[in-house]
């Protein structure tokens, strides 16, 4: 380990991959509940809460680990305050575990979720941001300590790079956008208005800015592309992300009781949201084409895969139902669900997996290493996810046609016409779990297996 500070990044990555495994395990329970609702001791709402919260927290931990790693690499020195970083990691991990215990308690006894001083003690009952207020405060504190430590590190080193600045900017934006979710509002319309500030401005704003910065960093690390070219494109991408994404929030304000002018704003800006994601794909391919010497092939492979599936999942699967004329029929159906799965997988799961395969070998000091299992994990996960998303898209099309257009009852469509879609989804879910299992195994054993002849992770010749 070149820097002691890398231990922090490793801790976050380890916690992230373990939570990823938990997320997919509970996801499989949820998939089973679509087929047989009563089969598990905890009901669907709590299983889903666990599935989604595990996702959000492990991605955040992955992003924090990535940021600590990038800041140390870019400033070429230790973190400003190492014990503070350790404290921040353990506080985050312990708070997460406490929140999870709270959810499970509520799952076993719904009455345990009581109102105390105007807040719910175990679960706020608001998708994605269910974490109770006391946990919100801990999360905000953790984010502030994290930002403070990284900013101080940069200031101390006097080396501020474009990548680092953009990454920290994205992290500040992310932290600020957590705050609108921390107030109780009596109107459900206003509640959902602010809720979308958190959810949308995270996943289609701050997180995509972070993804843009990390993509530039990853391409810089695995190829010998010139920094100024990567940073220039990064600025263009992240500008376009926010130019389309900030007002693209309008596509969530079509039907929640907000004025009709949002139909126009949402339609225009959110239709443009795939553009920056397409530029990222082009950027990744251009960099790969122009720089044939690669010091980490799996890292580059995953970076490009992230760019492609970010565009397909978040971009294409989003734009198909973003116009109000379409969304009027598809809003709140399995189409949204399909989009959610592919978008999170492409945009963020693959992003964290890619940064792990770039950071961890470097932290462990591996020059070359066996990547067979990494590719196997990637293909198991990716093929399973694509099939699962196609299944959910099919279920969504049946639902839109039968329930929304023909007026057949929701329950009838779900229980009869979509039954086999749920079975297939669970089946592909098992495939995904196998992929995640391989990934976690490979994470802990990276570098243990000898490099197979002809399967080097490094490409040194420009001719290949």
């Amino acid at each position: 380990m070149k820097y002691k500070s890398h231990r922090i990044a490793m801790n976050f990555f380890t916690f992230a991959v373990l939570l990823f495994l938990v997320q997919v395990l509970v996801g499989l329970i949820a998939a089973g509940q679509f087929i047989k609702p009563d089969f598990f001791i905890i009901s669907f709402n709590i299983i889903r809460t666990l599935h989604i919260n595990a996702l959000v927290v492990w991605l955040l931990c992955g992003l924090m680990g990535a940021t600590y790693y990038v800041v140390v690499e870019e400033t070429e020195g230790e973190l400003w305050n190492l014990p503070l970083a350790h404290f921040q990691f353990w506080a985050t991990a312990i708070a997460t575990i406490l929140v999870v215990i709270g959810y499970i308690v509520m799952g076993l006894n719904p009455q345990a979720n009581k109102w105390v001083f105007g807040t719910l003690i175990l679960n706020e009952g608001r998708t994605y941001i269910e974490a109770p207020r006391w946990a919100d405060c801990l999360i905000a504190l953790s984010a502030i300590l994290f930002l403070f430590n990284n900013v101080m590190t940069i200031i101390k080193s006097k080396k501020i790079t474009g990548i680092q600045g953009t990454l920290i900017g994205g992290m500040v934006f992310l932290t600020l956008m957590y705050l609108p979710g921390m107030v109780y509002i009596k109107s459900m319309v206003k509640d959902q208005f602010w809720w979308w500030w958190v959810v949308h401005l995270w996943v289609e704003g701050a997180w995509e800015v972070i993804a843009g910065a990390l993509l530039a960093f990853m391409l810089l690390k695995v190829t010998n592309a010139p920094r100024h070219v990567l940073e220039r494109w990064m600025y263009i991408e992240v500008f376009l992300v926010l130019f389309t994404g900030i007002l693209g929030i309008g596509h969530h304000y079509y039907w929640i009781g907000t004025p009709p002018y949002w139909l126009w704003i949402g339609a225009i800006f959110s239709s443009l949201e795939p553009v920056p994601l397409l530029v990222m794909v082009w950027d990744a391919f251009r960099t790969t084409r122009e720089n044939r010497i690669i010091n980490n092939r799996i890292g580059l492979f995953l970076s490009v895969a992230h760019a492609i599936f970010n565009f397909v999942g978040a971009g294409l699967w989003g734009v198909i139902h973003t116009l109000p004329q379409v969304n009027k029929w598809t809003h709140g159906t399995q189409i949204t669900n399909a989009h959610g799965h592919l978008a999170f997988y492409g945009a963020y799961v693959l992003l964290i997996v890619a940064i792990i395969y770039i950071a961890v070998p470097n932290i462990k000091g591996l020059k070359d290493f066996n990547t067979d299992r990494a590719y196997k994990a990637f293909w198991w996960m990716t093929v399973s996810m694509i099939l699962m998303v196609l299944t959910l898209t099919g279920a969504g099309m049946v639902q839109v046609y039968m329930e929304r257009l023909m007026g057949v009852d929701y329950v009838v469509v779900k229980e009869h016409y979509n039954y086999w879609f749920w079975v297939f989804r669970a089946f592909f879910g098992v495939g995904f779990l196998i992929g995640v299992g391989l990934l976690v195994l490979d994470y802990f054993t990276m570098g243990n297996l000898p490099v197979r002849k002809g399967a080097s992770n490094i490409r040194t010749t420009a001719s290949a």
Binding site: R48, G125, Y235, G257, W262, W329, Y410
Partner: protein, 218 residues
């Protein structure tokens, strides 16, 4: 520093977009209250119940939430409130096919939740959810069956709601016309603890029309 122009485009361009969002937010908040009924303490109490049981973990509301159970935006405008109350307190006892577990919702909480659901059903949502454009019907139903929106709760040959019993073979299950008449007049008098709402405004002629129709469903 050759990228300064691009960097500034990112920083100031993004801040400008965010400033527009804030301006629109202020404008929107000035309009929201006219697009919904006033929020009473009861409505708020119902919203608190909604959050307490993490209803959104299975249901959507205003189309947002989870896709495991039906959307709740317009539920209070379609399903009788007396049924909703019984269902919320003990779903499976009220509807044998229900998936929803018994959460321990009290009578008071159920009342509050229904007030909240009633409030949300009156929010101006720009016409969402839209009315189906290819509406299917279960053959030639009686006019009164349509008038009293029986299909909101009951289904015939797969068409209609799932809150009440399926009527596809009602004539074989309850062939007695007198039983049917008494049931329509006062459901609880023939089915103990019936969750069906009585229809006091229904004329005798309309009752007979519905009963005659039901008795064709062998």
């Amino acid at each position: 520093m050759e990228n300064n122009g691009y960097r500034n485009l990112f920083i100031f361009g993004s801040l400008a977009c965010f400033a527009i969002l804030i301006a629109l937010t202020v404008n929107t908040f000035g309009k929201l209250d006219q697009r919904a009924e006033p929020i009473t303490e009861e409505v708020n109490a119902g919203k608190m119940v909604w959050h307490k049981y993490d209803c959104i973990g299975c249901h959507t509301i205003l189309g947002n939430g989870s896709y495991f159970a039906p959307d709740m935006t317009k539920i209070a405008s379609r399903i009788p409130k007396s049924y909703l109350k019984k269902f919320l307190m003990d779903p499976k006892k009220t509807n044998a096919h229900a998936t929803m577990p018994k959460l321990g919702i009290t009578a008071e909480e159920a009342d509050q939740l229904i007030v909240f659901l009633d409030w949300i059903s009156k929010v101006d949502t720009n016409g969402w959810p839209p009315k189906p454009i290819m509406t299917v019907t279960a053959g030639n139903v009686a006019d009164a069956y349509t008038k009293y929106q029986c299909a909101d709760c009951h289904s015939i040959s797969g068409v209609g709601g799932t809150s009440g019993p399926d009527l596809s073979h009602e004539a074989s299950i309850h062939p007695d016309a007198d039983w049917q008449l008494r049931h329509l007049t006062d459901p609880a008098s023939v089915v103990a603890d019936s969750a069906m709402t009585p229809f006091p405004d229904m004329s005798q002629e309309e009752r007979t029309q519905i009963v005659n129709f039901l008795l064709t469903l062998k």
